[in-house]
Amino acid sequence: MSLLTAVRNDMCYCPGCSHGLVLEQLAQAIARLALPPPRVCLVSDIGCIGTADRYFTCHTFHGLHGRSFTYAEGIQRVRPDVLTIVLVGDGGCGIGTAHLVHAARRGVPIKVIVCNNFNFGMTGGQHSPTTPADALTPTTPAGFHERPFDIAETARISGASFVARASAYDAGLPGLLERGLRAPGFALLEVWELCSAYFVQSNKLTPARLNELAARGGMPFGVLAEPPAGDARPAAPSSPADTGKAASDETVPQPRGPKLPWPGRREITLAGSAGQHIRTAVGALGEIAVACGLHAAEHDDYPITVRKGHSISNLVVDARPILFAGVEAPALVIIMSADGAARVGDLSHLPSSSQVIVASDLPPPATPATVHVVDLDAFARAATRAGVALALLAYGVVRAGWVESEALCAAADAVLSGRHRESNLSALRAGVAAAAAQSPACAASTAGGRHDP
């Protein structure tokens, strides 16, 4: 049973155009596969050939110029049992080259029929990427002087499993169409055609001259790539594996911690450099807070290259739900590096109730807040280099009197999990110990004439 609703001469194409001929042969090749029409989907691109969908009785999809490959891939991945055929012109292969190349590279099992007539028929015969050398078109009045785009070869080197090129007038075309449709993986058949309205008029092209053009242009007709016999090329994974598992929006239950008393909304800014584990530290404290009944919001500030430059992480913790997740006037600012200090900038607006902890190798900031100078090396000895940020955070929140040492340690012990549990725990304990014991190793000094409480 033919999938076509019209014969060649009743189609919309100009007399002498190759499209009708190729569509009839394509429909016959599909019919030889003996698939029921609902198992076939024709995705047509744009241009004269793009109008072909209306003549087919299978599923049809007519989309945007050059994007037919992408729709076909979406359909194919959802319905791998449906033979998905792309019908595209030379223009579509030009504007959609990236999709063609990457669909071939991914081995998406779509079957691409390219109707290459060397020009844009629908828009008036302008040159296309495949226009042959010296050809005359309205946009190449002195002849085409660019290198023509070799669609079939591009598909081949991109990994297509089956690639062939033929003339629309080649007696072997029906066989090639069928082989292309039956080939596993990504298949492409480039068919050279005549556009009787434009290209033929200016370039005296005939069916016989198509063969000469192929020979002269170094683009031979025939099969360019074929899957080895008996070796079905693995197609791109498409359908969801039938595991019977439905995706779920449930997460792994997270450990709960003991209730952590907290004085109210507190904004914390931890400012350092990439590699100082700033975001990890703030994330860990946030997780502890949330698991222990508090509310938290963390937002980060870092340049586009995450391994270089400043890294700032802001954490808001409150016993009430947090409406504004940003930071207005942090009650605790920890500055671990010059990058961080530069990004945080002026701290003269901080209220005097705020605390600033600053690494001893940095100039103490001018601020009405209380400034503690700390020796990062001493913290590193107690907490390892990677743990300094978290140790400083624990040090800061305990020193500020927002949370009891024991309560914080117990909460962390109950909540922290995963690969970094032990290192995070020991960093946090080191910070707590430094705060509680005022250990000489982490001795705090004062700046700005203010004294530690």
Binding site: P37, P38, R39, C41, V43, T51, D53, C58, H59, T60, F61, H62, G63, L64, R67, F69, T70, Y71, E73, G74, I75, R77, V78, R79, V82, A98, H99, H102, S238, S239, P240, D242, T243, K245, A247, S248, D249, T251, P253, Q254, E287, V290, A291, G293, L294, H295, A296, A297, E298, H299, D301, Y302, P303, I304, I322, L323, F324, A325, G326, E328
Partner: protein, 379 residues
Amino acid sequence: MREFITGNQAAVRGAIRAGCDYFAGYPITPASSILTEFVREFSNGSGIAVQTEDEIAAIGQCIGAAMAGARALTATSGPGMSLYSENIGLAQMGEVPLVIIDCQRLPPATGGATATGEGDVVFARHVTAGGFPLPVLAASDAASVYRLTYRAFDIAERLRTPVIVLSSKDIALTRQTVNLDLVELAPLTARRRHAGERTFRPYAVDRPADVPAFEPIGGATRVRFTGSIHDEDGLLTIDRARIARKLTHLREKVVANAALIEDVDADLDEKADTLIVSYGTADGAARDAVRRLRAAGEHISHLTLYSLWPIPEKALAAAAGGRMRRVIVPELNIGLYADELRRVVRGAAVESVVRYDGGLISPQALIEHFRDRNAEAVR
């Protein structure tokens, strides 16, 4: 269960809760973690997640997948929205149920990848040629991104249209405390399928505001899909009556169903003569400012917009009518939505509070603006 998750994680959870089983995307800050989360979520075979060669392929695959019956989602940022433009038009014309998340960043162009900005609020509505209405929702935090992504799927299915959910860098990447179990979600409406002996006409509707029945490509019923102007059979048409019928339908199905899309939260004080209208990241600051002002004895009303398009005119009229003198609109752009509100708010002065340097509008800034009774409306 109380969790500490980003807006992007919440978006993925909301999508999966709504039955999303196809995701295609191209990496872009601050939307990338939606892609990586989906790859992880679907690694058990419960759905398909694809990293494509570009944004055009991402939305193209989603359109193909949706028409084959998947519940499809794609996510990007402003630059990617620009590349989605033509395909969003295709999804409108072809009546594709499709959800798009735009994690906005500082615009225009490449702008600031890691800087915040919410400048796509008008662009989202007019992202494609033709001006046909497009539902646009706007999240303000992780919990609302979860709820709105879920709702977007319902709207997309019921109206067979692309639906855009706006997020932004400071929602997408900010980790917040949420309890998704407590987020109220209405049950999803089942897809209207073709029934009866009659031949399936893929775009047939009885009245302009009706929505055509959906049959998937690959199913037993033959489907014709096209982005060209078409009749109810999905065949290209040059018949003026059919063209008018189709395009009137594209407008009417959204306009007549505006109530289905409208999503606001009104927190009104009868004695107030000032209303804050907020959406997106500025909404949290507005809530905080309102709480503090009321604690100080002030009267102020607040309207949160979770749907921006169609403009929730009913809710605005109810909140901004009567004795209201001032409508304050904080935005992380040059005052785009305030301009739109000036067309619909009568009687009260619409005052813009804007910030577009990559930082957030603080509650304090809003309080100061409120207190400055003589504040001249910015613009």
